[in-house]
């Protein structure tokens, strides 16, 4: 499946505006929309009449509240058009209290099928074996990675990893327990690498580092690594590329979560100085970088701001959700014809310590 990118930013904007109209029509029409949004329209306004483009959406909708995903039962999010079709329930967060839940049917397959075309055969040989050493359990990622491997003709090995437990023990300053758990996870990966032919690895930066301290991953057969997670400063990316992967293994940083899908990074050029920029899978999701204290206003290019996510699929509509991340607003870079987010880190990272656990 070859991906068709818009040829320029104007076309990308036109396509996004058209997509917004289609999605608004879908979620706010009684024949196709979900109980939550239909009810919301009754209490607020009918977006079908007022939202004609992405700018309207940004202007007229308030921020999506994450409590809605915690407090409400999943069926309120089922669009009428999907009624009767069993769905997946995916979770994010949940270290303390109720996690956020998002339901879905095929979105993850769409996102990851598209991503499958963005990684090279050299680093991710087709018809081979992968290993996922990352958060499993109720996360969308677990199924998404397997689908991604399958799309490329591969099968994927998994091991269990509960990031909530890791965050909890680190918050409680039980560093020995956290280290023991990390060792437990990494040891399982080493076992698989030793006894199975595996050429590709999905993991988090911290786990990758820990794995590479125990085994030469190139000699173990790994040729490509893609990493998801939050903070990867340019120096940390450089460290991974030069010291952990020793320049011999393809490295594909990604940014994503259960609510958005997957934002791929553009290949790093020398002038980037290892600063990674991610581009959302527009028009299905749009990332903006807004002023933290004035969230209806974008920051200037190359400035840090808070990440705001809008998800626009027929399965899930989520306007203007303020992520717990901050990033640099970056301009479009081919093949992407829309803004990117660079050097993503937890929101407020400069002011306070954030527990990122295995990330």
């Amino acid at each position: 499946m070859a991906i068709k990118y818009p040829p320029n930013p104007q076309v990308a904007q036109t396509e996004l505006d058209a997509h917004v109209r289609e999605i608004i029509q879908w979620h706010f029409s009684p024949e196709t929309g979900s109980p939550f949004w239909l009810d919301w329209a009754k209490k607020n306004f009918d977006p079908r009449a007022e939202v004609k483009c992405f700018a309207d959406l940004m202007q007229k909708f308030p921020h999506f509240q994450d409590e809605w995903l915690r407090d409400l039962q999943p069926e309120v999010w089922v669009p009428a058009a999907f009624k009767g079709q069993p769905f997946n329930i995916f979770e994010t967060g949940g270290t303390t209290g109720m996690p956020k839940q998002r339901i879905g049917w095929n979105d993850y397959k769409v996102d990851y099928s598209e991503f499958a075309e963005k990684i090279s055969d050299e680093h991710f040989p087709r018809n081979h074996y992968w290993l996922m050493m990352g958060p499993t359990g109720p996360r969308r990622l677990r199924l998404a990675i397997e689908h991604l491997a399958n799309v490329r003709g591969c099968a994927c090995y998994f091991l269990d990893l509960d990031p909530r437990f890791v965050k909890k023990v680190i918050s409680n300053k039980q560093y020995d327990v956290a280290r023991a758990y990390m060792d437990h996870v990494v040891d399982q990966a080493i076992m698989l690498l030793k006894h199975r032919k595996i050429s590709a690895l999905f993991t988090t930066p911290k786990l990758l580092e820990a794995l590479a301290e125990k085994v030469n991953i190139f000699e173990a057969g790994i040729r490509g690594v893609f990493c998801g997670g939050t903070t990867m400063t340019p120096q940390y990316v450089r460290f991974i590329v030069e010291e952990v992967l020793e320049g011999k293994i393809g490295f594909y940083p990604t940014y994503g979560n259960t609510l958005m899908g997957l934002a791929a990074s553009v290949p790093i050029k020398p002038e980037d100085n290892f600063s990674v920029t991610y581009y959302s899978p527009q028009p299905r999701a749009v990332l903006r970088v807004v002023k933290p204290n004035q969230t209806d206003t974008l920051v200037s290019y190359d400035e840090f701001g808070r990440v705001e996510l809008t998800t626009l699929t027929k399965e899930f509509f989520m306007p203007r959700f303020l992520e717990r991340d901050e990033a640099i607003r970056r301009s479009a870079r081919a093949p992407y014809q829309w803004d990117g987010v660079g050097d993503v880190r937890p929101f407020g990272a400069m002011e306070k310590n954030i527990v990122e656990g295995v990330y």
Binding site: E209, E243, N273
Partner: protein
Amino acid sequence: MSLPHIPVLRLGRSYESLDKVTIANCRNGEAVAQVSTVNAGILRKDLQKVGAARTALKKFTVAQLLEITSKAADLFLTATLPLGDKGHTQSPDDFVKTLSSTSGLPHVMVRRNMTRVHAAMSNMKTMLNGLTRGLDLTILDRGFGEQSGTKVSFYSTTQALGLVMPSNSPAVNSLWLPSIALKTPVILKPGREEPWTPYRLMQAFIAAGCPAEAFGFYPTDHEGAGEILRTCGRALIFGDKATTAQYANNPAINVHGPGYSKVLIGEDEIERWPEFIDLIAESISANGGRSCLCASAVVVPKYAAEIADALAKKIGPYTPTAPDDEKAVLSGFANAKMADYIDGAIDADLKTPGATEATAKYRNGPRKVVLDGGIYLRPTIVQCESFAHPLANREFLFPYASVVQCPQAEMLDKIGYSLVTTAITKDEAWIAQLLECRHIDRLNVGPISTMKISWDQPHEGNMFEFLYKRRSFERA
């Protein structure tokens, strides 16, 4: 010219990180240099290869390394040495001015610290003789030999000495200097405001012929510091009580926390107290009161009020002066928040009944003062009625001491840990008790400044015994 950049030294490889911190002049905020910083992962990678660094040092004999150390001492004191990787150099005068600008120490104290470090390096042979109790040092080259008619063999306890350094006083670097002559590479995390002294020392050693592989200079974060302590087989850490308490029971880590050094006067000598005021004042205020050797408590069986007043009269009027004043006695604070915290903490504790600040009336002004952008705390003497008072056994980073009245018979039970105790007495029975006292590290009997150290005696642990162990040995 561009700002100097101090790179990470990765056991022979200079490394410019994408993460840098800017070190600023603490008086006017101007940037002085950039320092590359690295994450713990880089340390872990490098520490896997530290065996090669030790191999590089083992190619030299101890005698050769002593020669190199002696040469490095002179270079440190007098030479213009490389500063960073952008073509900058640093003369001794540059070093004095730069270190003064970022640490707050006046020039005269930086020079005094330089002299102290130089003396430690120049006297390294004497120092090793003291630390090894006269061991023939060629035994360390061979690994075995005979000493006083007995077979001896020593083996190294570690591939490297880890160091998590403070920023308070350059002379503290003297502690790791024997490591090079003892063929042990150093993996050092410098203090935030004081990369200058360890970097210059390493450059001096390299210029004197020491292999660059022997030096790891890693400005890093908290996790990186933890990695140094965890991974190097032997390490030294400097820090406050809370930091050092974590490692107190770890024999691989030599902890250097607050010194709580003290001057005690015995009942037999107390009537002569006026004769000792100059010595006590010097023990409290030398080096701007920043050393762990500085006395922070004076314990007397009587005349506490009079002694506190006399000390206050002597050091209370000390005022800050320009950094280049040759008579400067106070050091500025690189971190304004630290000065605020100390000033506030003392004022808060003075509200607890049982303590009087003796210096207040001689100071004619607040404790915290600002001069030309520099923040200073003026000397403070507090008379405490007993050791129960929260200010009785405290140590701060400026000339501070309590004067506590306590019967001689109770003193040793109450003083707690003391890095240095000067006991002014001739009472042999009490001296015998002092010699038995396990919480005194260094003991001076008689009117000796707490600041005095001897090159041939261990200071804060015996570095030779830390880095080497003796084994039984036979060879057919």
